[in-house]
Amino acid sequence: MSSSKPKLCNETHFKAFYLDHIQAVSNFAYYKCGDNAAALDFVQDAFAKIWENCAKIDFSKAKTYLFTTVNNLFLNTVRHQKVVLSYAKASPYLDKTNQNPEYLLEEEEFKKKLQSVIADLSDDQREVFLLNRIEDKKYREIAELLDISQKTVEKRMSGALKVLREKLGHENF
């Protein structure tokens, strides 16, 4: 049984692990620092740490270890850029049937505003919010990834939503 369990120190297993998670963890790193190159650097550092300690890390825990390592690496870097994410091209509007140019303009305005509000969220709030929104992760999954409690995740999410409501409330539109 145990022999079939994937081992991190095994080159092919590690390669699979790397390819499985590189995008997700890079996204996560990007949500935190907003700099693609820097994010990738951190991610590579985290993978290197896992490779060095491969004997000590259980395969099932490796993903959490990866995310928390990236998280910790960020704690050591004080400065980071404004995190401005772009929208996917050719994405639909909320009201798909409404083709009124005024409506479309309004929605574009909102999207721009949303970008900057997200950029202004605190790091903790933004990473939880984006993991939930972009990565479509449940609070429980985020808690597991970051090795924090679900309550903490919900608190951060709730804080993020509060900021969004305040800054994007209807009186602004």
Binding site: L19, L40, S158, H170
Partner: protein
């Protein structure tokens, strides 16, 4: 609180937009709805996973080159060599049971043995014993002259090239120089083994061998050897032996080519003044001397 929870549930996919709107018909949820919808369309930069992996491999292997130190057998050997050196050095330092003492010309030394016996080593002498076996066997090796005050106990043996001196507890002097062997007993009873013959010596008696022949010596009644009070005392001793002693005590070279060195000498000389010492040896024998640095020449009045 409940509303907040429900909104959280809505974002977590546990409630649909219709449900939340039904639950809170009076709440304006437009901003959240829009945020919820449009944030879903946000994208993080795409990572080229294969390229990243290749980069990772490159830097990782580079790292390994510098970081991984192979178990170096050489360093093991180095450590082992140092350990062996330290062990053997400490063995010789701490477990070397051979104790030896030596005196130079014109030097005496007082030694205390492990059993509280006292040894006074005269000039140019060598004494050694084994510390470990000392308890079982009080055995000393002597080359030169020494005075022993032996505390009571098991047999106490002084080994010399000329013979062994054995006692139980006493005071005695052993003098073993070239062609000269002398044991004087000051207290107790001393047994001397010389050429497989055993001779018992009582206090005041002397056992003397000159050039291999045993010489009868009159009894003495001093308590200690004269050399302990910085004097060398002789009692019918051939002159060459007196000259030897002078050389040892004063670090001089004495030449006595024209005189008869087998002449017997009785008397003493001090260890503190070279001239007085030379005079006290030469005058009784009708000799004179010349000092030239370390060289001293003895001659008789007649020949000069």
């Amino acid at each position: 609180m409940n509303k907040e929870n429900d909104i959280l549930k809505w974002f977590n996919g546990e409630l649909s937009t219709e449900e939340i709107k039904k639950l809170y018909p009076n709440e304006d949820l437009t901003a959240l709805e829009k945020s919820r919808f449009y944030s879903r369309q946000l994208e993080a930069p795409k990572v080229d996973a294969q390229k990243a992996l290749a980069d990772f491999r490159k830097r990782n292997s580079k790292k390994e080159d510098t970081k991984v130190i192979p178990l170096n057998f050489k360093s093991f050997l180095k450590i082992a060599a140092v350990l062996v050196l330290m062990l053997s050095a400490s063995y010789f330092l701490f477990f070397n049971n051979e104790k030896s003492f030596a005196t130079e010309i014109a030097q005496t030394e007082i030694l205390n043995l492990p059993d509280n016996s006292e040894v006074i080593l005269n000039a140019k002498s060598n004494l050694s014993f084994n510390k470990k076996s000392w308890k079982k066997n009080r055995l000393l090796e002597l080359d030169g002259e020494a005075f022993f005050k032996v505390s009571k106990g098991e047999q106490f043996t002084v080994k010399t090239d000329a013979g062994d001196v054995k006692v139980l507890g006493t005071q005695f002097n052993v003098k073993e120089r070239d062609n000269y062997f002398e044991v004087k007993c000051y207290e107790g009873l001393v047994s001397v083994t010389h050429k497989e013959k055993v001779k018992m010596i009582n206090p005041g008696e002397t056992f003397r061998v000159v050039n291999g022949t045993i010489v009868n010596v009159e009894k003495f009644n001093t308590k200690n050897p004269a050399w302990l009070s910085k004097e060398s005392s002789f009692d019918k001793v051939p002159l060459w032996q007196v000259i030897d002693e002078l050389e040892i005590q004063y670090d001089i070279n004495i030449s006595a080519e024209d005189i008869e060195t087998t002449t017997m000498f009785s008397g003493s000389f001090t260890h503190t003044d070279k001239n007085i010492a030379l005079q006290s040896v030469t005058i009784p024998l009708n000799l004179s001397y010349k000092i030239n640095g370390n060289q001293v020449e003895l001659y008789s009045y007649g020949s000069q």
